[in-house]
Symmetry: C2
Subunit: 236 residues, 2 copies
């Protein structure tokens, strides 16, 4: 039975981390909120499910509903060989993913530092301040951590964990793509000091299923409605 995947139908957002895993796995899935009536169905499930998601994305596998991006990837990773079978290595993969989630939340807050209920324009002064901090301190700090993990991987620097692709590699690819869209100048500078991260991004983009996905209409373009938004005044 196909997975039903639920997320806002017009943005990559947090859902994209799950879409990339489903695509790389070659999993049978429906991007359910992109079907007609899909958003209404999604909203009803959030309201009425026995285990209600706090927010999209969420995945329905038979009767099981799983929300929280990192938890969905934990679930999919074990089923589709996108995480090590060894429990310690599996938990390490998950820990890397949770750090990616923290990074993504900070990237979001660069344009919404005050309130998700307000427009960017209503918090632009604060966004300018927060973005400067993000560019100068946070992007380098996070990328340095990923670079260290890659460089320190005893199986070689091609993957974050072990010697095979994991969902964490896919997610790091997506973060670097998003940062490069939102903060092209700052990200280019930071990547110059993170060659393993830059190489991982390129390697993921070349994987046949990912390459086909990125070229397909299933890949929604980046935009100023998503998590990674390009406001030139926030880059520098």
């Amino acid at each position: 039975m196909a997975y039903e995947f639920y997320y806002w139908p017009t943005i990559q957002g947090r859902g994209e981390f799950v879409r990339l895993a489903l695509e790389e796995a070659g999993a049978d899935y429906i991007d359910a909120a992109r079907e007609s009536e899909g958003v209404a169905v999604m909203m009803r499930m959030m309201e009425h499910a026995a285990h209600p998601p706090f927010a999209p994305p969420f995945l329905k596998d038979g009767e099981t509903i799983i929300a929280q991006t990192a938890a969905i990837l934990l679930y999919l990773g074990a089923r589709h060989d996108l995480a090590p079978k060894d429990p310690v290595a599996g938990l390490w993969t998950h820990q890397v993913q949770l750090t990616i989630a923290d990074f993504v939340a900070e990237a979001h807050d660069t344009h919404h530092p005050i309130a998700v209920s307000l427009y960017y324009e209503d918090q632009k002064a604060e966004a300018l301040r927060r973005s400067a901090e993000f560019r100068q301190n946070r992007i380098p700090k996070f990328l340095d951590w990923f670079e260290t993990i890659l460089a320190r991987n005893p199986s070689g620097g091609a993957h974050l964990v072990g010697n095979g692709l994991t969902y964490a590699d896919l997610s790091l690819f997506q973060v670097v793509e998003g940062l490069s869209y939102a903060f092209p100048k700052a990200t280019k500078r930071a990547l110059a000091d993170a060659p393993h991260v830059a190489a991982l991004r390129e390697a993921v983009a070349r994987r046949p299923r990912i390459k086909a996905y990125l070229a397909s209409p299933r890949r929604i373009p980046f935009s100023e409605d998503g998590i990674f938004r390009h406001y030139p005044e926030l880059d520098g």
Copy 2:
């Protein structure tokens, strides 16, 4: 062999969610950074570990180091009967914990909406705006979600998951304690609409091991150095 737990020695912070689980489990642990030289050891481990933590807290169990609060609790929950054995219920518990983590991050950002590298006083104007949003929209939204989960639990509304205590219950207790310290007026109002959450908080506080812990010197007081800070101007 005792667990070695590492976190900043003078604040509750994110480490407190782990301390509460260790205490309720009656686990043998050392709060390692509170020993002499402990912080220096913690910093060296973050620098040199094969799997370096991005930030404290982290737990050392023999040769395994686990960071990220929710990942540590996932690990401890399975070993100390603080989570259901059933995989679907275990993943649901983790999902609740990840939503608590999101809530905690938002609580932190009320006093640091711009940069962790700046003092509160240097971002107070932004903190006033962000806290108003947090009080008016976010505290009610999160507490309503926890209230719904408790009310909808088929095993009764005493626990978030199933009919026994989980680490998620301990963490929700800590969040409500923290919010009540930081935003006493706003939290009192919100709890009036979340009777199951209020009852869970009281029930956790009465558990013998938690009660003994809270009365001990091991429980660090709340303060304006932690995640939950009481700045009266941010409450209302």
